[in-house]
């Protein structure tokens, strides 16, 4: 295998940020403090939909220790947002959900800030609310009455309460339905899920004498945060500096601005550093959770179980602002197509506004929602046709060179290998080892998000390298992976590569820690930087060694040409004296593959880059009386292209499955009449170590053309299949599918009861 030919890449080396994190030395954004710092808190709406008639801050302002209060009236009237520019810092004339920011206070202590919040008087006039996305589609009530005046990406198609609508159409689905052997229609629903990072969203802001604001925060996207902050503050981007001391998890929940703007605005108002950190309650009522969704899916098959046509509609509940809803909903269309050949497709996505919390891009946005529907339905069809669900999948999966939903060509396809390996490992031949016990399987594909990366690499006089990247080490080991590639290319050890923190003022641009792209893209940029450094070193060595460049290679930290050699350290010292040092800028961008634009409409991500393939299999037992699920074994076979560090790939798989188990069985932000009923970590149920079995990872390596050494994106996929695999196993154990997430014991018990009566 590859590890034999590489010295650093492909090996299970300890991550560069590991020791600091396990010893408590690593400084996270939440640890960050400045002298004279004030504490900021945010007043949030208690009404789901209401006109704000009056905000009276005078009583609050009179409290000793309160240094500044801001509301919408005190700040530039800017609307921002990724797909649709519909978002404001504070509610303007209307509160759109319970938890909507109304005002912010900075005070000398958190306690005083909280007292001030309680002293702010807000007069509301209630408006009729919309909580149900399907109702919002029909209703005459407008959550954004001025939606037509908002700017949006040109690709986004909007209408009334619809923040975005996309389509994929292939062939003639209607004709295929008309003459199919059988047609199946099902409805599925999924719940609002918090990303569950350990460190809440936090930011400390300070303005310097030159009018530059520095924000120390835990964003996944420092450059996006810089741009958005500049818009909100009405400043050129160069006057906003974003730096990430450390980040305690993100999972897509920290992509977009969270509390950074409150800190920066309060700091401007008070001329003091201000720190704002969300509480658990704010996390569960006003963060950026995974959207709830409804999926309607219709599938036509022939007698042998071949997929002839599929039509479907996903309704994604964005909440009060579009957030990443339009993109998330659109991505669901590719997930619903799955790694399958299907004669015809007619898919539509709808992202809808409601009076609830706005939502974000939680790890593999739309992946688990669409996959849950799509893969459970495959099992339902297989059962009806009397087919083995594995066999039904194998009859339909894509092969090398088959077209994907957008007309792109599937390359380095491994879906069959993943399915067979997962099935073998779980013992598929014996699907019902005992009553109440069953095995389930599910598979998917997923993109490696593109976006550009730049790195600077400097060779130090001791021969070590410093890697400056704008990508955040979010905890996955992604930057260690990139550093392994750099070390490999420069014949260094991993410990010779120093990685700096992210600072938008100093670091080259990076598209950010998102979309399974960090190691992939930063790794490619490292390849480019290493090539440039080799060029510089060989040129310098040519003078020193009096040898031709063509004969040179890097070996064991030396430039070697025949029997002559010179160390990298020596070259760095020479270059310092004579040439300003060895330094390189490496960049990477993966162009989108060719596709057929007539198939895809109003889709912000019309075609997937370097897709990966994977299959999950689970063996579980269901208590026949209580409905309680016990997972006995869980297997993942995932194609990573090339395993740059198998340990951290396993870490990603285990963590993703844990989140998937949460989504499948226990997690849900529960709304009732617009109010979150479980806005605390007692009743918002993320799985504990006791709920997650040992996860068996099978790493499949089918190399890609675009990734470093053939790598594909790794981070997001593991949380896609758990709901479907678990749903199918529950069905194998009980005979029934609870079509809604989370599949709580109560829902399973109810489904079994319906079946028995």
């Amino acid at each position: 295998m590859s590890a034999h030919t590489h010295r650093v890449a492909g090996h299970r080396l300890p991550r560069r940020d590991g020791v600091g994190k396990v010893t408590g030395k690593h400084v996270y954004a939440a640890d960050f403090k400045l002298s004279g710092m004030l504490y900021g808190r945010v007043l949030r709406s208690t009404r789901a939909h209401a006109l704000i008639k009056k905000i009276d801050t005078s009583r609050a302002a009179a409290i000793a220790g309160v240094r500044g209060i801001i509301t919408s009236a005190d700040i530039p009237q800017i609307r921002y947002g990724t797909a649709v520019r519909d978002t404001t810092v504070f509610a303007t004339d209307r509160a759109l959900f319970i938890g909507h920011a109304i005002a912010a206070v900075a005070a000398t202590s958190l306690e005083i800030a909280e007292r001030a919040l309680a002293a702010i008087e807000v007069e509301y006039e209630d408006l009729p609310p919309l909580f149900d996305p399907e109702e919002a589609l029909k209703s005459d009530i407008r959550i954004h009455p001025d939606w037509e005046t908002y700017k949006a990406l040109p690709i986004i198609s909007r209408n009334r309460n619809i923040a975005g609508q996309a389509r994929i159409r292939v062939g003639d689905a209607e004709a295929a339905f008309a003459k199919a052997h059988k047609v199946y229609e099902h409805r599925f629903s999924t719940a609002l899920q918090h990303p569950g990072y350990t460190e809440p969203r936090v930011a400390t802001a300070d303005w310097d004498a030159n009018g530059i604001v520095t924000v120390w925060c835990n964003t996944q996207l420092p450059f996006d945060t810089q741009t958005t902050l500049a818009e909100i503050l009405d400043l050129p981007a160069a006057r906003v500096r974003v730096t990430v001391p450390g980040i305690g998890g993100g999972f897509g929940g920290k992509l977009r601005i969270g509390v950074e703007h409150f800190a920066a605005l309060l700091a401007r108002k008070t001329a003091r550093p201000v720190k704002v950190m969300s509480t658990s309650e704010e996390e569960l009522t006003a963060a950026l959770p995974r959207q709830a969704s409804i999926v309607l899916l219709k599938t036509a098959v022939d007698k042998e179980g071949h997929l002839l046509a599929r039509s479907g509609r996903i309704i994604v509940d964005c909440g009060a602002y579009a957030g990443s809803g339009p993109g998330t909903a659109a991505i669901a269309l590719q997930v619903m197509a799955g790694p399958y050949k299907t004669g015809a497709l007619a898919f539509e996505s709808v992202a809808v506004y409601t009076n609830k919390v706005h939502s974000g891009s939680f790890r593999a946005p739309a992946g688990p929602m669409a996959n849950f529907a799509m893969e459970c339905q495959i099992d339902m069809i297989a059962k009806d046709l009397g087919l083995d669900p594995l066999e039904m999948r194998l009859r339909n999966v894509v092969k090398e060179g088959d077209p994907g939903p957008s007309g792109e060509i599937h390359r380095s396809v491994s879906i069959e290998e993943c399915l067979r390996k997962a099935a073998d490992a779980i013992g598929w031949h014996d699907r019902n080892p005992e009553p109440g016990r069953g095995k389930g399987i599910a598979c998917s594909w997923w993109m490696t998000t593109g976006g550009s990366s730049g790195v600077y690499v400097k060779i130090n006089p001791d021969g070590s390298a410093t890697l400056v990247s704008g990508a955040v080490e979010i905890g996955t080991g992604a930057i260690t992976g990139a550093a392994q590639i750099l070390a490999e290319e420069l014949s260094l050890d991993l410990t010779d590569v120093n990685v700096t923190g992210v600072d938008t003022q100093a670091a080259p641009f990076d598209y950010g820690a998102q979309g399974s792209r960090t190691t992939f893209s930063v790794g490619n940029a490292c390849l480019a930087a290493a090539a440039e450094l080799r060029r510089q070193m060989f040129e310098l060595a040519a003078e020193q060694l009096e040898a031709p460049i063509e004969d040179m290679k890097l070996q064991d930290k030396h430039v070697v040409a025949g029997n002559k050699s010179i160390s990298i350290a020596e070259l760095a010292r020479i270059s310092r004296l004579a040439g300003g040092g060895l330094i390189a800028h490496g960049t990477a961008i993966s162009p989108a593959p060719a596709y057929d634009p007539t198939r895809v409409q109003n889709h912000p991500l019309p075609v997937w880059n370097t897709p990966s393939y994977h299959a999950h299999a689970v063996d579980l037992s269901v208590d026949q009386a209580t409905g309680k699920v016990t997972i006995n074994r869980y297997v993942v076979a995932q194609d990573v292209g090339y395993a740059i560090n198998p340990t951290y790939i396993e870490g990603q798989i285990e963590g993703g499955v844990a989140q998937g188990i949460g989504q499948a069985l226990s997690e849900e932000i529960v709304y009732q009449d617009g109010r979150v009923m479980n806005a605390n970590l007692t009743d918002y149920k993320m799985p504990t170590a006791m709920d997650v079995p040992e996860i068996e990872s099978i790493i499949v390596e089918c190399r890609s053309a675009a990734g470093p050494y053939g790598a594909k994106g790794v981070g997001e996929p593991p949380c896609i299949e758990p709901p479907a695999a678990i749903g199918n196993a529950i069905a194998a154990a009980t005979g029934c599918w609870p079509n809604s997430l989370p599949m709580t014991a109560e829902k399973i018990a109810a489904a079994m009861q319906v079946q028995h009566s």
């Binding site: 209580t626 479980n678 007692t682 149920k685 504990t688 709580t744 018990a749």
Partner: protein, 291 residues
Amino acid sequence: MSFDLHRPATVTEAVDLAQRFAPTARYVAGGTDTVIQINRKKIDPAHLIDVACLPGMSEITETADAFALGALTKYRSIETHPAFRGNLRVLLEAASVVGGHQVRNIATIGGNIVNASPAADFVPPLLALDASLDITGPKGRRSVALRDFIVGPGRTNLSPVEIVTSIRFTKLPARSATAFLKEGRRRAMEISVVCVAACLTLEASTSRCACVRLAIGAASPKAFRPEQAEGYLIGKPAGNESFAEAGRLAAEASSPISDVRASAGYRRGLVAVMVERALTTCLQRIREQNQ
């Protein structure tokens, strides 16, 4: 959220402090209920009187026919105590499913009882053992049966200045066993959706039930003993049929609510299943003792 913390050295000192600062004072032991209630602004005491270090209140004492558990006993001590591996296993089983390790290392059983949550896990086992509490207050000591002590959700007949010092119960006769079952969405860090404690004694030479004590948590405003179910079993042969009927009767006697954790209907169904299963486990354990 600011308070003065007092560290009395004796029970008398603690009671004096409580009297001095009543009604804005609160005792705190492990603090695992109190601190959360303060954080969530459910309570706002100006004085916390830390009883965690009071002497003589953390011991587990065994006499010829009884046990006394100090009110400050931690779940960890119950989990690891050899005396609760036999027919008093209900205590070990309940203690080992409270919260997680960190909570069990600091939280006290006295706090669990006085907090009087309908879902408190350690209350049903003690109810099933017919436990009583020793209480010290300004007027001296008193003793009260646990079933009379808790009067409703979060409400007890303790005055704010009284301290619970220990919990007592008598040992079980031969041919007895106990069991505890808990259902929730997770396997740790979980508040019971329903929990059930059972204590079963068989007649000396038959397999008929001589004494049955059941206690059910999280299925009514306070943990309760389903007396009809208990009474029904007396003299009946222990086994699936009678246990299932006891479960049905217990479910009938429950009055659960629907909340974000579960519906009333599901809870009631759980009561029936769990009572039956807990009794079945007790029966199995009695049989194992006799082998």
